[in-house]
Amino acid sequence: MDELALDISQTERTASAIVYDQLRADILSARLEPGSVLDERLLAQRFGFSRSPIREALVRLWAEQLVQTLANRTSIVAPFDVVTLPSYLVARDFVYRLGARLAAQRRTDIDLARIEAALLAGEAAHDLNSYVEGNRRFHLTIAEAARMPILRQWTREVLDRGQRVLALVASREAATGGLHKMGDQDGHEAILAAIRAGDAATAEEAAGIDASTLGELVAEALTQAAIVSLPKALHA
C-alpha cells in the first residue's frame, strides 16, 4: 500500500515536471500571452494528466511569479507590467555587476572554461532565440562562478523576466529591427577578460556597461512596441 502510494507520487512528480517545463517555456517565449487563462481542466486534457500534477506545476510557476491566481482561484499567465520595467532594469544591473565582481574573485579554471564556452555559444547565435539562450547561459555561468546560490537564483529570476520582455518585443514585428544589434558580444568579451584577470572592479564595470547597453535597446524597442500595439489594445 505504501509502496503503491510512493509510485503514484513519483509518477505525479514526473508529470508535474513535464507540465512545468512546457508551460514555463511557453510563458517565457510569449507563446502564452500575458493574461491568458490557465484552466486546470483544459490543461489536464491537453497534457493527458490528472489535475493534481497540473496544479502542482501551476503552484511552482506561481512561486516564480510567472503565474498569478485571481480571487476566484483562476490562474492566469502573469500580466506583463510595464510599470515594473525600471525595477527590472535596475535589478538586472545589480545582479550582472555583483555576479561579475564575485566571479572575478572566486572563479576556478573550470568556471572560466564554462564562461568561455557560453560566450562562444552566444557568438554563434543567429536569431533572437539562440541569442537569448546564449546570453542566459553566459550570465548564469558567471553567477555559478560567484559561488552564491541566492545570487544564482536572483540572476535566474532576472533572466526570466528579460526573456519575457524580449519575446514580447519580438512578437511585435515592427519593433524587431533594433534587436539585431543585440548580437553584439563586445560587452561579454570585456567581462570575460576581467574575470580571467581576476580584476573585480573592471569586471563589475564591464557588466554594468553590458546591462545598460541592453537596457537602452529594450527600452527603445518596447516604446516602439507600445506605439505599434496601441490600436490593437484600443479595439480589443
Binding site: 496544479r55 502542482e56 512561486a63 515594473t84 525595477s87 535596475v90 545589480f94 555583483l98 541566492i150 536572483w154
Partner: protein, 216 residues
C-alpha cells in the same frame, strides 16, 4: 467559474502548512539539514499531500528548503553561508539605501524614523528585535521603489533571522541595539536625499552586523 468550496479549503490548508513550517524553520525548532518527510508533515498538520507539496514548493522557492534527490531538506546555516549572506547583504542594502535616497517620499522618511526608534527604545528581546528589524529593512526597501529588491530583502531577512539565532541565540539580547546610531545615519542621509551617504551608512550597518556575527 463555479465556486469550489473544497479547493478553497485546500488553499487555506496549504497556507497553514506553509506558515507553520516557515515559523519552525525560522526559529530553528526545525533544524538546518532536517529532512522533511511529506508523510510526517501530512500527519503533523492533519492534511492531504497536495497542500503539503504546495507549501514545500513555496518554501523551496523562497530558499528556506533545498531539494536533494527528491527530498526536501531544511537549508543550512553554517559559517560558509554567513560569508555569502554578508556579501549579499552588504551590496543589496547599499543599493536599496542608494535608491531610497532618491525615490523616497516624505512619508517614507517618517516611517523609517519610527521604525528605527522602535528598535532603540524597546527591550531588545529576540522576537521583538527580529520583528523590528524586519519592519525597518522592509520600510527601507519599499522606499527604494523597487519591488524586486523588496522581495530579495525579505529573502535575506529570513536568512538573517536564522543566522542570528544559530550564531547568537545564546545571548540574552539581540546586538541590533548597538547599530541604532548607524541606522539613524541611513535615515538622515535618505531624508537629505544623499545617495552616497545612504549607501555608505548602509554598508557600515552591514559591517557592524558582520562583526556581531563574528565574520569580521
Amino acid at each position: 467559474m463555479k465556486f469550489e468550496p473544497i479547493a478553497t479549503s485546500r488553499l487555506t490548508e496549504s497556507v497553514r502548512v506553509y506558515a507553520g513550517l516557515r515559523d519552525a524553520i525560522l526559529d530553528l525548532s526545525m533544524p538546518p539539514g532536517h529532512t522533511l518527510d511529506e508523510r510526517d508533515v501530512c500527519a503533523r498538520f492533519g492534511v492531504s499531500r497536495s497542500p503539503v507539496r504546495e507549501a514545500l514548493l513555496r518554501l523551496t522557492t523562497e530558499g528556506l528548503i533545498r531539494l536533494e534527490g527528491g527530498e526536501s531538506i531544511v537549508g543550512d546555516v553554517s559559517p560558509k553561508d554567513l560569508e555569502t549572506f554578508m556579501a549579499l547583504h552588504f551590496y543589496l542594502a547599499g543599493m536599496v539605501a542608494r535608491l531610497a535616497a532618491t525615490a523616497r517620499s516624505s512619508r517614507d522618511v517618517t516611517r523609517l524614523g519610527i521604525a528605527n526608534a522602535e528598535l532603540t527604545t524597546t527591550d531588545m528581546e529576540w522576537t521583538k528585535a527580529m520583528a523590528g528589524l524586519r519592519v525597518f529593512r522592509l520600510t527601507l526597501a519599499t522606499a527604494s521603489g523597487n519591488s524586486i529588491f523588496s522581495t530579495w530583502t525579505l529573502q535575506l531577512l529570513d536568512q538573517e533571522e536564522r543566522l542570528s539565532r544559530a550564531l547568537l541565540g545564546s545571548a540574552s539580547h539581540h546586538p541590533t541595539i548597538a547599530t541604532s546610531s548607524i541606522r539613524r545615519a541611513i535615515v538622515d542621509a535618505i531624508s537629505r536625499s544623499d545617495p552616497n551617504a545612504a549607501e555608505h551608512a548602509a554598508g557600515q550597518e552591514s559591517n557592524a552586523l558582520a562583526i556581531a556575527f563574528g565574520s569580521k
